[in-house]
Amino acid sequence: MSSWAPLALTTVTAALLAVPVAPALYELWKREDAAPLPTSRHDGRIANFADVFRSRLEPLRPRLERCRAQLEISRARVDGIEVLLVGCNAEDFDFDPSLVQGIAAVMFSRAALIPAGRVVDADIYADAALELEEGAALRAAVGRSDITLGKDSGVLRWLHADGGIYLRRGSSAYGRLSAGQSIRMEPGCGFQRMHAPSILTVDAGQDGDCVSVPSTAHVCETSEDAQHLPADRGEVFASSRPRLRVKGNFVLAPGETLNANVITTGELQFGAGARLFGSVKSYRGAELEEGSCVHGSIVCGGTLRLGPRSFVTGPIMAEGDVLVARGCRVGEPDALTTISSSGTQIAPGCQLHGTVWARVRGSVED
């Protein structure tokens, strides 16, 4: 046997053992992926995409003003994207394919109009109102005034208006939908995640400025019984509130008032006009019948049904669907809240304040 044999054997064995760790040693040496994992730095606001888009286009504002003054259309490049600046009136700009070819964003200095049936790939910035006519669709848009989505129109990624947003019958806003003032939706509209100080579902054709949603305040607290209610009724996190754990179903009888945090392993049911001052959790489904109130949050492991004219002040977190009947109110104008669910169906005539997030699909009942 050659004297080299043991050395060769040792070398081959060492090489075989080194093979599995070779990539590891390479990575240690090269440090190609040695940065900390990125964590989210943004604050979670729904309007973040719109804000980032707006700030990217901000350097082009002086040019947009010049276009507006001269009623002209020009191209510009900012932050690596091609932008079309439209200074003319909406009716003079028809998204001619030769103009929008290769364009990532369009900035309108005046009111903008997406013609009926037109599909626009570019993101839209409108310095004034924006309207999508029937059947039109676009990827994303931000408007400094109001935005109207015509019948059966759609937005695929995000939409933000500093003023109000009106979704006409059958229109859909996938992704994020946010407004500085209000969102109004007609029957048949679809959404996923939306936020506004005021979200109203209205009957088709109802003028958005004179929406009538029945008040629920009287259902929850009348002047004659206010003195009997708990002093900390407005405080969701009152530490003095008792905790009631129920094994099985829990029913609060019609008209009854309870001051407690309730946790039930079964179904939860509030009779008509029942009131709870505290938060409630159900491992399964929950139903609030007509005119019932929860001055606190609702956590639900199944489907939550809010009966007509019921009222909830705190966040609603459902692992199933949330079905909101006519005349319901969730949150208050000065105390916004969140509805989070797998799917949300809202009847016309409801008033919500804050965020509604349907992870699969939300809709306004048709």
Partner: protein, 429 residues
């Protein structure tokens, strides 16, 4: 007798193997539960943030700066840096912040029992809010983190909340890179799977929150606990409160950069966890009102640090039984072979690999074979800790001593770090 012991050991290893695989498969293919992550609008409650600080001059400025930037109503936020008997410039740095920001209310603790739990217990006397968040001084919270940690408290059953810890000093040493992978496995897979499956996510003591009324109900912080976090998780569980995990409530931390520091850290964790095990394993198994899933997971979670010595014992027994000619036949032999030829099992490594994939880490997965080295160090350390505890329980010992983990940071890093992290442009909705 030895054969019975060997069989029990192999069975335990197999159970923990299944547990790891089950968690990993759940994370990869199961239904994910993030019930509180969508809450971005609410009438946010007043909260208090406690920052546990003991000789933290190198890091305390970073966390205070980060907390000044958080997106939470300022009038509902009280920050209490709990300066626990520091002998360095920690007090001076905190007071400089207080001079500019009066809503920071420092608690300079000069005496009393040492240890984080004891310091927090004293600090709680100054807390007037129902929700309390706790951070160690080397953590750097992001802008939305506070709301993410508070949101679960709208659930009336939640007593404590745990966020995800992400190492900041990843690229420093081989050790920090291994710990980065290990943390990913622990949080991204282990904790989230337990959340998905309605089991027992663990309160980790930092990047965490606790409901004051729940804490009061169980008698406050246990200053005799070496691992006050595990202790709290189980006392809350036994009192009918839930601990929940928020995977997207991410916060940077500094991990040990030297092996001796790491060994001391994991020995402290092991001792604390084992101490909790002796206290709570029987009550958890017997407690009415807990689901069977919670009971099983609760018991196995308590036993995780016993598996190190169990594995060493199993290997030793295998050698002894082999040379004494014992008959290890049938399925047991197959299980034993599987268990011992793969260093216990590969489930933990599978878990880490899955976590790296879920995090979108492309290249760091190459380091996976080196985790074997970290695994071996941990195995020996936790076994040594268990041995010391067993020895102390038979022969008595000095009082429990709480060792603070040594910091490697020598100067504030916040600006440098923030400059490196790009803002989010678009993400999935």
């Amino acid at each position: 007798m030895l054969l019975v012991l060997f069989r029990v050991t192999v069975l335990l290893i197999c159970i923990y193997t299944v547990r790891h695989y089950f968690f990993t498969l759940n994370r990869l293919f199961g239904r994910q539960r993030h019930p509180y992550v969508d809450v971005d609008s609410a009438d946010w409650p007043a909260i208090t943030i406690l920052i546990a600080a003991h000789n933290e001059e190198a890091v305390v400025a970073d966390i205070l700066k980060a907390l000044l930037e958080v997106d939470y109503p300022r009038d509902r936020l009280t920050i209490i840096p709990v300066n626990d008997r520091s002998t360095d410039r920690t007090r001076e740095i905190i007071d400089a912040f207080v001079a500019q920001h009066p809503f920071i209310e420092p608690f300079h603790r000069s005496g009393g029992k040492p240890g984080k739990a004891a310091a927090l217990k004293d600090a709680m006397a100054r807390v007037n809010t129902e929700v309390v968040l706790i951070f160690d001084a080397d953590y750097i919270p992001g802008k939305a983190l506070i709301r993410q940690l508070v949101a679960p408290f709208f659930d009336p059953e939640v007593g404590a909340v745990m966020g995800r810890v992400v190492p900041l000093n990843v690229g420093k040493k081989c050790l920090t890179r291994l710990l980065d992978l290990e943390r990913s496995g622990g949080y991204q897979v282990d904790q989230q799977a337990r959340m998905n499956l309605h089991m027992v996510p663990q309160y980790g003591g930092t990047v965490a929150g606790v409901r004051k009324s729940a804490l009061d109900e169980i008698g406050g912080w246990n200053e005799n606990a070496l691992a006050e976090d595990t202790d709290l998780t189980y006392r809350l569980l036994l009192a009918g409160w839930k601990t929940v995990y928020e995977n997207r409530a991410e916060c940077y931390e500094e991990v040990p950069e030297r092996w001796p520091v790491r060994v001391r850290q994991i020995m402290r964790w092991a001792k604390g966890h084992n101490q909790a095990m002796t206290r709570y394993i029987v009550p958890t198994a017997k407690r009415d009102g807990l689901s069977w899933v919670e009971r099983i997971d609760g018991v196995f979670l308590l036993g995780v640090y016993v598996m190190g010595p169990a594995l060493l014992l199993g290997w030793s027994l295998a050698v002894v039984l082999f040379y004494t000619g014992a008959q290890i036949g049938g399925g047991l032999a197959v299980l034993a072979l599987g268990a011992f030829t793969t260093l216990g099992n590969f489930a933990a490594f599978f878990e880490i690999g899955a976590a790296a994939r879920l995090d979108g880490s492309r290249q760091r997965i190459r380091l996976l074979p080196l985790t074997l080295f970290g695994f071996t160090v941990s195995l020996i350390s936790v076994s040594r800790a268990a041995w010391q505890q067993a020895h102390e329980s038979f022969f008595g010992s000095a009082d429990l001593v709480w060792h603070k983990t040594e910091r490697s940071r020598t100067a504030p890093v916040l600006e440098e770090h923030l400059a490196r992290t790009a803002p989010v442009l678009e993400e999935s909705v």
